[in-house]
Symmetry: C2
Subunit: 409 residues, 2 copies
């Protein structure tokens, strides 16, 4: 009798976005003349830049002729893209990452969801709180999370990121085997300093942990001192896997391309006294269960590294920063305390007067027809905050700012 993976049944339903949609719908029914603007949108709104569009058309044309047609590609990605990434994202910054340590995929969500397969089922997993839900749910499905009690998985180690610790997590009491770190962080918008990251790398080296480093938002870093890659940190090649994406950097959320760096030096124990390079295991995972990112999409990603591609893409990132700065100003005018927005497209806004995140959500919707994302949806430590994003169009952002100016708290 076929029976299901019981860990799938343990997954908690997240009602965050369903509940937001329900409240927005109710508001719109009661206020039919009022347009709701979302400041919580997690998707890009700008079209793909001209360099990417041109590269796509060219690659599509190649696919229409036998001489230039591309069938199955390497599961790890085409050398032209792996080499462009190695050159521009690593070698150019003096970092030691070679193209065969870079694996192209259809998205950081896929890679972050799948990477846990490489580890033993009894591994102890640490996540920051608040947290991007994929880290948690993929480990729940694999049976690593234990019981769910009081909004916490009993076998997961939580690393609270709070106003008190300036969103830099302290080392946990229980030593984890695997540590997910997201910096610049979704949802807090805060980035770890070089010093903080060095401490985590040292911790991982000392305790034999592997760090799964999600740097999907590195393109948004503006502060000089913030590392763009974990490989800027001494010793990171021994303990850290880095996940990056073209989604937010180059507007690829609908085109799907990302990459994961697995240095040769990152190993884990095999239970028989030996150590196994994770690069080999990830290669085996990808060659067995994945068939590569589309050729035309990889050509599109390659074009992001051309001189015109880089200029065009950075202009979009800068437009996002401009949005963020204006929103931060408006919120501070209201007397609110705002974190993030400088090195990330996310703003983490402390709710006023001890309101819960849902109460503040309700207030912004009722008074200004604005939608944000309640922090409680990202974990226990997210309570007392709401997440805003800077992905909106300039027009929507402008109107949202005018509405915010009318709200008194």
């Amino acid at each position: 009798m076929a029976s299901v993976n019981r860990h799938f049944l343990e997954l908690q339903r997240t009602y965050l976005f369903t509940e937001i949609a329900r409240k927005v719908k109710a508001y719109q029914k009661a206020n039919p003349g009022r347009r709701v603007i979302s400041l919580g949108i997690g998707d890009v709104t700008r079209p793909l830049v001209p360099a990417v569009i041109a590269a796509l058309h060219k690659a599509v044309e190649e696919m229409g002729h036998a001489a230039t047609f591309h069938g199955y590609g390497p599961e790890q990605g085409y050398p032209f893209l792996r080499e462009a990434i190695a050159a521009y994202d690593y070698t150019a910054h003096g970092l030691d990452v070679s193209s065969d340590e870079i694996f192209i995929s259809d998205g950081a969500k896929s890679d972050l969801g799948n990477f846990q397969e490489l580890f033993s089922q009894d591994s102890v997993v640490a996540v920051m709180d608040p947290v991007y839900p994929v880290y948690v749910d993929s480990n729940v499905m694999a049976g690593r999370a234990g019981e769910y009690q009081n909004a916490r998985w009993q076998r997961l180690v939580y690393l609270p990121c709070t106003r008190e610790n300036a969103f830099v997590p302290d080392f946990p009491e229980t030593r984890p085997d695997i540590i997910y770190i997201c910096s610049p962080n979704n949802p807090t918008g805060m980035a770890l300093s070089r010093h903080a990251l060095q401490e985590w790398v040292d911790y991982a080296r000392h305790h034999g942990c592997v760090i799964l480093y999600d740097s999907a938002y590195e393109a948004f870093i503006t502060d000089q001192g913030i590392p763009h890659s974990i490989y800027e940190i001494e010793g990171a090649r021994e303990v850290a896997v880095e996940f990056r994406s073209f989604s937010k950097t180059a507007g690829f959320t609908g085109l799907r391309c990302a990459y994961t760096v697995v240095p040769r030096d990152v190993t884990a124990v095999d239970g028989k006294g030996g150590r196994v390079p994770l690069r080999e295991l990830w290669n085996r995972r990808q060659t067995t269960k994945y068939n590569g990112c589309p050729y035309i999409v990889q050509r599109a990603a390659e074009s992001v590294y051309t001189p015109e591609g880089r200029v065009q893409v950075m202009a979009d990132v800068e437009a996002c920063h401009e949005n963020a700065r204006r929103i931060v100003d408006a919120l501070q005018q209201m007397g609110l305390t705002v974190f993030g927005g400088v090195n990330a497209p996310y703003l983490w806004v402390a709710t006023p007067h001890g309101m819960t995140s849902w109460e503040f959500f309700d207030l912004l919707l009722a008074r200004a027809a604005l939608v944000c994302t309640p922090g409680a949806g990202f974990g226990v430590a997210g309570e007392g905050f709401v997440r805003l994003t800077a992905f909106g169009t300039p027009d929507d952002t402008e109107e949202a700012l005018q509405r915010l100016a009318t709200v008194t708290l």
Copy 2:
């Protein structure tokens, strides 16, 4: 201390394609003037058809303008494609499959590799022998295969498909929980009849098994009596999940699009006396660990269902059949016994004079500079056969046939 998933270490290295490459290289070194032609190629060689190219250009253009840009899409696929598939591949044939039972993905390999996650780790898995390695390896990695002894995994149930049973597997002595069936089959090129498939569906219903039905090659079926979909079989909606792909049908091996049908009625037990619909679990798996197939690729897949798209794509399939017929004729002229090639792009050729599959491989390479795929590489029951494919270009096929005519056995 981070430790690896020990089941990854149990995976057997397959030396099949490495060994073929080594032998071809040695031959070419010894015979520098002789061009080697592969009759074992597993990839399409024809370019994408004009309807698909036009759809891609149009969708790319949309991505370049804010008003028509598409960011994150539904993880399950866009309704336009799910509805086209439901209408043309199912409803038009009188089959009861609705669009929300269809999940779009980047490939059948991904879906076939990932689907096993939905089942308990102690599930007993049956596979046909010879077999497409992804079914086996993905279950080895999940810890379901047991020890590897004498070229067999001890916890897997093998269903030999041999000349003696006309490549229709008998029911096994051990009752499995999950049964992988590939029809039309890779590598044998043989397709299950309606009667045989009904018996397997009845068996699954009686014993509470789930059938994972890989019909990636259904477009190549020419015999009237052979089912194109398992849902043509009574009761299949209760026990069968169907995997299909645009890879071989429409030349999408480099574009990456496939779909999986999970009917609402397919359930498995939850260990607490209840039953869980697999559709819900697959939806949860995909929404957690996958972010959808690119918009432009889904528009390309949609174009395959337009009148011109269908005509163009079927012309390519017919060209493949024409290749197959000519190769079968040539092999039969040599006195060889050939299976498949009628309802599949694969030919399964019995080796002459009791030769092993590698011996026959060596003979074809030495005497005609032709490459095939030794059947032993697909499993114990593949010994005594080689696999040929009909994906080659017309010119290569023509030259291969001329060479075959010079070989006496």
